[in-house]
Symmetry: C2
Subunit: 341 residues, 2 copies
DNA sequence: CTGTTAGCGCTTTCAC
DNA sequence: GTGAAAGCGCTAACAG
């Protein structure tokens, strides 16, 4: 049996409710008493019983994260950060890798205080409209049945990167990041890329500036880059649609004996610290995942508090869009030869 | 506010404890009453409050899974199955991607009923010796500070695969699955491979039969296989150390215009359904992940029940070793040319 | 078979 | 400041 506040109370010679207050750092307890109780609690290895606490306080102190797609470096890193962020605010994070609707059902039985829904693909969310009043925050796919959401201004990120390359003098830029299968998020980036190229008046913003790839993994970036770089009229700059792809592209360049940035410039989408750790630190665009994590956590906590105040879910459909930044590292430079025409 | 058993009781005109019994399908309630109550509960959208239930029953109905490494197809698939298996037995699964000690601490506060610890690398588990009597089951690294564990007989799996290839007539077999960095699990497989080759009396079970790779991802298998297959004296058979590696190897063969199994035989480690879905269904060894999942779940539940009975953790250090199987699909055949000498 | 009575461990009034 | 008392939603004896 674990240690309860009663055990502590007995040992400290106070009432158990005083212990409760002391543990919650209530101002209603003398500092001295508080210190003593804390010491004893520590010594006895006391762990609050979450079940009991949540029973009375109506809050479980847990945020459930629905995380259907488990295979992306950036997402994993993001989850880790969110986890830490929430932990700092006293919340524990639970992950579910089930389908969104099943996961939400489980979380609901658990009475989690909020649910964070990572939804890359448009899976059906039939009949799950914030059921028992648990606030749901949606990340990554703002176009969702009215849930509050938080997303990255992907288009803008892409445009910024393209402009950066363009301003350096690049006119022949290829984008690697549009997998077959038509993932809406990726499509959005690919078309922003083409659009921005046109807007800048590039001579030939041809469809072929977007390389065909089959997935978003390291290998896909590798293959596509290898192919592009061995061409006689190879692009002077490459833009990778994700960290993993960009890693693959860097590898391909290295193996092909093509120097970055002397022979080819490379920009990567995804603003994660790892970009800095590649063979050559890679210039990247996107919203820093630390920012995303912090914003997500703050928003989640705000939603929880709102829910407590009023009876129902959070403000319907409030959608936050995070603005991306460009971080120039060493993988981009003006093209070697004077800009071709 | 959610629906409670009292609400149901009132509506059904019975006492709340009758509702409780009915909901738990107790034989102490008349079928008719039971049916009526169930109907009302359903209609009102009743969800049991896990916090309350766990408070009195001392069980939370939750199994915590510590899952530090998030990037492997086989592991992800395994988690998914375990999740389903546990759910069938009425347990919810919570994942934590934190470090093992932190994760265990969180799970403890949550009073999970058991913890499943995936430990590939030997991370330190300092001072976490099944603390508040929560049973911990360890998977994947039996050599652990006395925790009950479940593991796969990796060595045997490797030997079986080698023997299969050998019996088909292959004498020149290469193993792709030993990443730099010295992951103990992978080292174990690599040395079993060499050892079995020697045991079978292969002419030259040279160290070079084990290809150098830098990781366990798709790409690593791809690169290694590409390299091996372009050699004049290329091996007649390849053995991949994981599903991901094997996929990469298959891709490399396809791109090199080398037919499987006519020109080269391929066996893959990891017994997962996906092996059957590759371009050519791949012969594989290992323990079916469905079996692993089921065993893990059963063991976990047994441990929970034991713990309930006696006061302390489960039988110390009981270690189960699962026996692998070979599933012959179409990627293996006798070597094309009569065995070289 | 059904209802009554205790709590589970904790937070929160409300007295002292 | 501190303690006593009530009760969160539920299960588990125990009576009826």
């Amino acid at each position: 049996m674990s240690v309860t506040i009663k055990d502590i109370a007995e040992r400290a010679g106070v009432s158990f409710s005083t212990v409760s207050k002391a543990l919650r750092n209530s101002p209603l307890v003398q500092e001295k008493t508080k210190a003593k109780i804390l010491a004893i609690a520590e010594e006895m290895g006391y762990r609050p019983n979450i079940a009991a606490r949540s029973l009375v306080s109506k809050r479980s102190g847990v945020v459930g994260v629905v995380w259907p797609s488990v295979e992306r470096t950036t997402l994993s890193a993001l989850i880790t950060l969110i986890n830490a962020e929430l932990e700092d605010s006293g919340y524990a994070t639970l992950l579910s890798i089930n389908r969104a609707d099943a996961a939400i059902e489980t979380f609901r039985r658990f009475q989690v205080d909020a649910i964070l829904l990572f939804s890359e693909k448009d899976e059906p969310l039939l009949g799950v409209p914030s059921p028992s009043g648990i606030p749901i925050l949606c990340y990554g796919n703002a176009v969702r049945s009215g849930f509050p959401s938080l997303d990255v201004n992907r288009q803008k990120a892409v445009r910024i990167a393209v402009r950066h390359l363009y301003e350096l003098g690049h006119r022949d830029i290829a984008y690697i990041g549009r997998p077959e299968g038509g993932d809406p998020l990726q499509e959005e980036k690919a078309s922003a890329f083409l659009d921005e190229l046109r807007r800048l008046g590039a001579r030939e913003p041809a469809e072929k500036a977007v390389a065909a790839i089959s997935g978003m993994e390291f290998h896909d970036g590798y293959v596509a880059a290898k192919e592009l770089l061995k061409r006689r009229d190879r692009p002077t700059a490459l833009f990778g649609g994700s960290y993993d792809l960009t890693r693959g592209m860097m590898r391909a360049a290295a193996e092909s004996g093509i120097r970055v940035p002397e022979d080819v410039s490379i920009v990567g989408y995804d603003h994660i610290p790892q970009m800095d750790n590649l063979e050559v630190p890679v210039t990247s665009v996107g919203v820093d995942i630390a920012t995303i994590a912090a914003t997500l956590a703050r928003r989640l906590i705000a939603m929880i508090e709102e829910t407590g105040a009023r009876g129902n879910g959070a403000a319907e459909g409030s959608a936050i869009l995070l603005e991306p930044e460009l971080v120039v590292r060493t993988s981009t430079a003006p093209p070697a030869a004077p800009a071709r025409r």
